[in-house]
Amino acid sequence: MLHMKGITKAFNGNTVLRDVEFDLEPGEIHALMGENGAGKSTMMKVLTGIHPKDEGAITWKGQEVAFKSPQEAEEAGIAVIHQELNILPYLSIAENLFLGKEETLGKTGILKTKKMETEAKQRLAELGLNIDPSAEAATLSVGQQQIVEIARALSSNAEVIIMDEPTAALTDREIEQLFKTVRALKDKGVAFIYISHRMEEIFAICDRITVLRDGQWVGVKRIAETNFDEIVQMMVGRALGDRFPERAATLGDTILEVSGLTRDPYFRDVSFEVKQGEIVALAGLMGAGRTEIVQSLFGYKKATAGKVKINGKSVKIRTPHDAIGHGLAYVTEDRKSEGLILDFSVEQNISLSNFPTLSSNGLMSAKKERALFDRMKERLGIRTSSPELPVKSLSGGNQQKVVLSKWLGTNPSILILDEPTRGVDVGAKKEIYSIMNELAEKGVAIVMISSELPEVLGMADRVLVMHEGKLTAQLDNKDLTQETIMNYATGGGTRV
C-alpha cells in the first residue's frame, strides 16, 4: 500500500539519504532499523512531508504523493507517534483525544463534553484501556498516554502508524499491553512502521525489517528468516562478536555502604554495599524507586533517613557538589534534561563538572579544557568534527559519551549509571559496555540502573531488585535468569 523508491535527500550538500527504498503492506508491522544517524528519522520526515525529497517517488495506495506537511499525511491516513508524546498534561484524557478535532454544537465552538467523553471511553476500551476519560492526562502512565496517542491517530482513520521508539519509557508490563494493542490493530489491517533499537522487541512483534546504514538501504528481511547477529551485522556493517564484552572481575574492599536509606514515599529502608571493581545493577519496574535512590545518594534529592558510608567512613552528602567531593559521579537517565547543556559545545559540556581541575583562581584554562577534551575524545571514541560543535548536533550514542566524559574527568571512585545505553545504537552500546568494564577493572565501583534485563545479566556482578520502593532481592549473577529477576521485581517474594 505504501512504496518509497529511490529516495534521496541532502542537507546543504550533505547527503543523508541515498537511493533508499521501503515498502509496506496492509496489516504489516515493519521494523525500520539502523544506528543513530543512519537516516531512519529523516526517511520518516520525508514520508510525512516535514522535509521535501530531492529525488525518488512515494506511492500511496497506487498514487504518487508528496505530502507537504504531517497534517496532510495524517489526512491521507499516515500518522506519526513521536518518541516525545504530545500529551497536554492538564487537559482531560478526552480533551487530549479530541484535540483539534473537538465535537461542537454546530459552529458555535461550544464543546460537547459529555459526548466526547463517552466516545473516548469507548475508543480507549477498544484498545484495552479502561479509564475515566474526564481525568487529567497527567494521571496516566507513559504507557497509557501512548495508547491515548494511538487512539488519536486511529480517530483520524490512520491506516499506517509510525512509532518512533515507542517502548523507551515503558515498563515490561506496559510493553506487553502496547504489543497486544498493536497486534489487535494489525489484525484489523492497520500497518505499523516500527522504529526501535530493542532487538528483542523487533523479533517479538515485527513481520519484516528494513535496515539502513549511513543513509543507504542495506536490505529487507522477513523476521522469520533472519536472526539477531545478521541484523546487527547489517546495521553496523561488520560482525560485533559478543554483545557484552568479557571481564575478569576482581573485587576490592567495600567502598560504598548504604543502610536504611529512606525517602518517603519513593523508597524505604534500602541497604546495600558495593565493592571496588564491582558492577551492581539495580533492576525493577519503572516507578520502583531505583532512580530516586541514586538521586538521594548523590545529594540531588534529600533522603529522609538512612546512613551512607564511603570507605568505611560516615558521610553527609547534601548536594551533588558534596557527592562529587566524595568521589561519586552520576550519569543521569535523561541526557537532555539532566545531563547536558544542549546549547553548550561538546568541550564545554565535558568541562562542566571539572571546573576545579580546569581553572586556577577562578580563571578557566582554555588549554586544560582542550586537553581534557582531547583525552576524552581519544579514550571514549567520541565522534565529533570539532570540540566547538554544539552537543545537540551529536547522535545519541555520542552525546552519552560526552556525559560519560564529563564524569570520567573527575576520576570517580563510585560511578552511578542510570540507563546508560538508552537511545544509544548497538555499536555505541558495546563501546559503553567496554568502558564500564575497563573502569571496573581499574577498581571503580559501578552502580547501574537498567530496565533492559539482557544488559543487567550481561554486565552485572550482582543484581539488586526493587519492588515498589523496597529492595526485594540481592542476587549474585550466577545462573541468574530474566524470569527470576522479574519474579522479585513484581513482588514475588524477597531474598535480601
Binding site: 542537507f11 546543504n12 550533505n14 548523590f298 540531588y300 548536594t319 551533588p320 557538589h321 557527592a323 562529587i324 552520576y330 543521569t332 534534561s337 539532566e338 545531563g339 547536558l340 547543556i341 544542549l342 546549547d343 553548550f344 564545554q348 568541562s351 562542566l352 563538572s353 571546573f355 580546569l358 581553572s359 577562578g362 580563571l363 578557566m364 568534527s385 570539532s386 566547538e388 560543535l389 554544539p390 548536533s393 564529563k406
Partner: protein, 315 residues
C-alpha cells in the same frame, strides 16, 4: 545541520545588533549631519552610560534565565542613602563605598529570595521593586536631597572628563571590560551560562546554582548603585523618583543585543550595542525633531523589529 551552517547562523545573529546600529546611525546622519559631530557623539555616549551599566548587570541576570525589575528602585534608594550621608557630612568616598555595598546587599536580597525562597525572579523583583521604592520615599520623605558638598571625586564621577572623554563613559567602558572578561574567561562566567542553559544539569554537575544566582543579583545591585552615583553626581542631588522605568530600558538593551530571555545564550558586547541603539535613538530623534510622544512609538517599533529579525534567524 552541519557545523559550518550552525556557526554561520550564530555569526549572523551576532552581527544583527551591529547592523541595526549602523543602519540607525546612517539614517539619522542623513537627516541631520550634526549627529556625527564629536561633541554630540560624546554626549550620546554619556547619556548611554547609565543605562549601559545597569544593562550589563541585567545581562548576567538574564543569562541565568532570570529577570530583575528592581534595578531602578535600587538606583533610587542607593542614590538617596549616599546623598543623605554626604549631606550629613560623611566622608564622600566612604559614603559612595557604602552606597555600592548597599546596592550589592539589596541585590543579594533578590538573589536569596529567588535561590533559597524559590520565588520566581519576576515576582521576587517586582515585590522588591515596590519595597525599595517605598523605602526611598520613606527615607527622603518624598523630597530631593541636595547640598552634597564639593568633593572632587564625587563631582568628577558624573561631570568630569578624562583625556577629553566624559568620566561616566570611561566608567562604562572599564565596567564593560571587566565584565566581558568575567563572562568569557572565568569559571563564574561559565557557570552563569550553565545555570541559564540547564539548571538541573548544572546542579547535577556540582555547580552551586543558588550561589551563582545570589552573586548575579548582587552584581546587578552593585552596578545599579554605581549608576546611581553617576546620576546623583550629574544632577548634584538625589531624586526619590530617579530610575523609574530604567529596568525596561536595561531589559530592552539586553534583548536588542541578542541575549535570549530564556537564558544560557547571549553576550555582553550585544548589550553594549543594544544600549547604544537606544541612546542613539533618543538623541537622534531629538536632533531630527521628532516629537517626544512619537519617539516612544519609534523606540518600541525598533525593539519589536529587532526581536522579529532575531526570531527569523532562530527558525
Amino acid at each position: 545541520m552541519s557545523s559550518t551552517t550552525a556557526s554561520k547562523q550564530g555569526l549572523i545573529q551576532k552581527l544583527v545588533p551591529f547592523l541595526g546600529l549602523f543602519l540607525i546611525v546612517t539614517i539619522i546622519t542623513i537627516l541631520n549631519p550634526d549627529f556625527l559631530s564629536v561633541s554630540n557623539l560624546l554626549n550620546v555616549l554619556r547619556q548611554v552610560s547609565i543605562n549601559a551599566i545597569i544593562a550589563f548587570g541585567m545581562t548576567f541576570v538574564i543569562l541565568t534565565g532570570g529577570i530583575d525589575l528592581s534595578v531602578g528602585s535600587i538606583l533610587a534608594l542607593t542614590g538617596a542613602v549616599t546623598a543623605g550621608m554626604m549631606a550629613g557630612g560623611t566622608d564622600p568616598i566612604l559614603a559612595m563605598l557604602l552606597g555600592l555595598i548597599l546596592g550589592a546587599l539589596l541585590g543579594a536580597v533578590n538573589g536569596v529570595l529567588i535561590a533559597k525562597g524559590n520565588v520566581a525572579p519576576f515576582i521576587a523583583t517586582l515585590a522588591t521593586m515596590t519595597i525599595y521604592r517605598g523605602l526611598t520615599l520613606v527615607y527622603t520623605e518624598g523630597r530631593p536631597i541636595s547640598g552634597l558638598g564639593d568633593s572632587l571625586t564625587f563631582q568628577m564621577l558624573g561631570k568630569g572628563y578624562f583625556l577629553g572623554i566624559p568620566v561616566p563613559v570611561v566608567t562604562m567602558l572599564i565596567s564593560f571590560g571587566i565584565l566581558y572578561f568575567i563572562l568569557k574567561k572565568t569559571t563564574f562566567g561559565r557557570r552563569v551560562y550553565a545555570v541559564g542553559g540547564n539548571e538541573e544539569a548544572s546542579k547535577l554537575s556540582g555547580i552551586k546554582t543558588g550561589r551563582i544566582k545570589i552573586y548575579v543579583y548582587s552584581l546587578t545591585g552593585f552596578l545599579s548603585a554605581l549608576a546611581a552615583l553617576i546620576l546623583t553626581s550629574r544632577l548634584n542631588s538625589a531624586q526619590p523618583t530617579a530610575g523609574q522605568m530604567f529596568e525596561l530600558d536595561a531589559i530592552a538593551a539586553v534583548v536588542l543585543g541578542g541575549t535570549s530571555l530564556t537564558g544560557g545564550r547571549g553576550w555582553i558586547v550585544g548589550t553594549l550595542i543594544g544600549a547604544l541603539i537606544i541612546g542613539v535613538l533618543n538623541n537622534g530623534l531629538n536632533l531630527i525633531g521628532v516629537s517626544s510622544f512619537f519617539q516612544q512609538v519609534v523606540k518600541g517599533l525598533v525593539i519589536l523589529f529587532a526581536v522579529l529579525i532575531d526570531r527569523k534567524k532562530l527558525i
